[in-house]
């Protein structure tokens, strides 16, 4: 096991450098000059101020006196991309993700402010997904072809097809706007933000709609995987063995079928949790959620590359760690993996 974990951690290295390098290259391809955008674009900034900003953000080469190095046309020489990247990585390993162009704050500080919101939202959504997805899947498999099965199968088909942002807006409209009108303001759900002193709602109420929105598609998938896995497992020979032993149907499902059927579902939910921690850009944007997803979205529109780079770097690490944890948890569920044995031919 230790060897396996070490191997996986070593695999982090190329993935990490690959992702950051690609991202670094991309930000130079995307049109729009971030420095010009600081001043609101156009002519709001003097050339000197602009040059000073470029020097400050390590975008142009400087001599030993701190002056920009000019080329034969009198333009400042940009720092080669590779050098920028090396500087970025060097700073990164010292815990420095640079400074936001727009907010004039260290990126680490911004992310430290935003990440808790993303984590809390992801946690709510994943709990919802696990309970609803697994529960609906079990009911639907156990009561196959019943009303409940048809209900689950149909509603999951619909949910899978509904884009999260659209569902979010729909929920906002129904619970935030219509409900308020119908009940004369007595009942409604907040349509944005994560509470705070200015909000008329308690903080936790703000989590309801974004959690549902964020969890919707993957809950539907989790339910469908759970259903098909359980039905598949119920046809296995060892279920027949359990039945021949005299176990009741309930005992067979709970003791013999569920643990086997859960293995792929747990994997799916775990990987999904990693994805949610990466910041749900669509959901967070629709709900004005003060998390990393929305922050990255905002940063992209303003070409605030340090935040994008820093945010994505953190996200990459988080996702890799979560995926590793999922793989390790897999081994606890499935002894065949724990002992490195080949899978049965079944």
């Amino acid at each position: 096991m230790g060897k396996y974990i070490l191997k996986r951690v070593l695999q982090f290295i190329p993935v990490f450098f690959g992702v950051t390098l690609i991202l670094f290259a991309l930000q130079n391809i995307v049109p729009g000059d971030p420095i010009k955008l600081i001043g609101g674009g156009g002519k709001a900034m003097t050339p000197e101020a602009e040059l000073n900003l470029r020097i400050r953000y390590n975008l142009v080469q400087v001599d030993e006196n701190g002056h920009a190095v000019l080329d034969e046309n009198g333009d400042p020489m940009p720092v080669p991309l590779m050098d920028q990247y090396v500087t970025y990585i060097t700073n990164l390993f010292q815990g420095d993700l640079g400074e936001s162009y727009q907010r004039k704050m260290p990126v680490t500080e911004i992310l430290a402010n935003k990440y808790p919101y993303t984590i809390k939202l992801a946690a709510c959504a994943i709990v919802l997904e696990a309970i609803m997805g697994i529960g609906a899947g079990i009911i639907s498999a156990v009561k196959r072809y019943s009303f409940w099965d048809i209900l689950v199968t149909l509603s999951t088909s619909v949910l899978v097809a509904v884009p999260a942002f659209w569902l979010g807006m729909l929920l906002q409209l129904i619970f935030g706007v219509w409900m308020k009108e119908w009940t004369g303001g007595a009942f409604s759900l907040p349509i944005s933000g994560a509470g705070g002193a200015a909000s008329q709602y308690q903080d936790w109420i703000h989590y309801i709609l974004p959690s549902i929105t964020l969890a919707s598609v993957s809950t539907a998938y989790a339910a469908r995987i759970m259903r098909s896995q359980l039905l598949d497992v119920m046809n296995q020979d060892y279920i027949r063995t359990a039945k021949a032993k005299g176990l009741s149907n309930r005992a067979i499902i709970w003791r013999h079928a569920l643990k086997n059927a859960l293995i792929p579902v747990v994997t799916y939910i775990g990987v999904d949790f990693g994805a949610m921690l990466a910041g749900a850009i669509l959901t967070e944007t629709v709900f004005n959620w003060p998390g990393v997803g929305y922050e990255i979205y905002r940063a992209i529109t303003q070409r605030d590359w340090p935040i994008v780079m820093g945010g994505v770097t953190v996200v990459v690490v988080v996702v890799m760690v979560i995926n590793l944890l999922v793989d390790i948890s897999y081994a606890f569920l499935d002894p065949r993996i724990r002992y490195g044995a080949p899978k049965d031919k079944s």
């Binding site: 060892y238 027949r240 021949a244 032993k245 176990l247 009741s248 013999h256 086997n260 002894p335 049965d344």
Partner: protein, 377 residues
């Protein structure tokens, strides 16, 4: 699970068999499957009796209804699509077909246990062997976890698994096929059942392991006195151990008798075909195998007459028109063939497995010594 779940339940095993009845009586059992394409006559009038210490061999090709018969007795067929269309199954005088699902749960594993064809897939991959073997004891006998594990270790030892203390804590994938089948046997015999139904227990195993498993089942039978129903498509397998043999074809028993009668005095052309298709042990010459030509009929539209008639080399007009009655001898040996009573026909066409020749090559030439077959029980 409630420990005293079966507190109010009278253990049928401890009750005497009613006068004049057998341990297990299957009488004209019919199980049909109602599918979208039509009715499948999977089991169509199977009858036999079984007593403690006896071994019944059920032989036939794939799809002849051997397994479905056993699964019906165990109540393991999903209904629908299955439906019992008639017949009785009496266990110690109690009708199994009339029992509720809950009552059947007390019977399964406790009174009648079953082992299956593929030991590679018949054990739950995520639980330790000890837990799986002891599960029945916890359920039927109310053993504690500790007691069940203790007994599971003893059972593994009993079925010849080395280092049982270590092996109870291992998972199925750490066992070979033969060892897993031993585990299955230990599991089935855990609650000391009256009847052990073995559904092709050796089919998925290496030839070298097959004999070991059969031997083990015999050994356990001698210790426990349980009855065995051995389902197989291989006459050679039952030759070793069966007291009685039922040959099935297309959901019906076509011949039934003692192992002796089936091997040396069989009256049905299908049984002859099965005997002829056992590979002969040719030492100095290569002989081609003798197959039964054609395929079993669809159980959905059986031919009008004898179901074997289309493949039978001796079929006459009557065979295609009329379902044969069972021709029964005074010893209870019956054959469902129009010509089973015609001794000239039988003598002329039966395979050369007369007692004077003394052997059918089944791999071990001496197993068919008459003193071995039927000599036990």
């Amino acid at each position: 699970m409630k420990k005293n779940a079966n507190k109010n339940y009278v253990d049928l095993k401890t009750q005497p068999i009613p006068e004049g009845q057998h341990l297990l009586e299957v009488d004209n059992l019919k199980m049909y499957f109602h599918t979208e394409d039509g009715i499948v006559h999977a089991v169509d009038g199977v009858s036999y009796t079984l007593d403690r210490g006896e071994t019944l061999g059920v032989v036939g090709e794939s799809g002849s209804g051997k397994s479905v018969t056993a699964m019906t007795i165990m109540g393991l067929i999903s209904m629908p699509p299955g439906k019992i269309e008639g017949g009785r199954v009496l266990y110690r005088g109690h009708s199994l077909l009339d029992m509720s699902e809950e009552e059947m749960q007390h019977i399964r594993g406790n009174d009648i246990a079953m082992i299956f064809q593929d030991p590679m897939t018949s054990l739950n991959p995520v639980y330790k062997i000890g837990k799986q073997v002891g599960e029945g004891l916890r359920l039927h006998r109310g053993y504690s976890k500790q007691e069940a594990l203790q007994r599971a270790t003893e059972l593994l030892d009993l079925v010849g698994i080395p280092e049982p203390e270590k092996r109870v804590n291992e998972y199925p994938h750490q066992f070979s096929g033969g060892m897993r089948q031993r585990v299955m046997i230990a599991m089935a015999l855990a609650c000391d059942p009256d009847i052990l139904i073995a559904d092709e227990p050796t089919t998925a195993l290496d030839v070298t392991i097959q004999a070991q498993i059969i031997e083990l089942m015999q050994e356990m039978q001698e210790k426990n006195g349980n009855a065995i129903v051995m389902i197989t498509h291989d006459l050679g397998v039952v030759a070793d151990i069966a007291d009685k043999i039922m040959v099935m074809y297309a959901g019906r028993p076509v011949e039934f008798g003692t192992a002796d009668e089936i091997f040396y005095d069989s009256r049905h052309p299908y049984t002859w075909g099965l005997i002829r298709s056992i590979p002969e042990q040719a030492i100095d010459e290569k002989k081609p195998l003798t197959p039964i030509h054609g395929n079993p009929p669809s159980l959905m539209n059986l031919p009008a007459g004898c179901p074997f008639a289309p493949r039978c080399p001796y079929a006459q007009d009557i065979c295609h028109e009329k379902l044969p009655e069972q021709v029964t001898t005074e010893t209870g040996h019956y054959s469902a063939c129009h010509f089973a009573g015609d001794m000239d026909f039988v003598k002329k066409n039966a395979p050369n497995t007369s007692r004077s020749r003394g052997k059918i090559a089944t791999g071990t030439p001496d197993v068919l010594d008459p003193s071995v077959i039927g000599g036990r029980a």
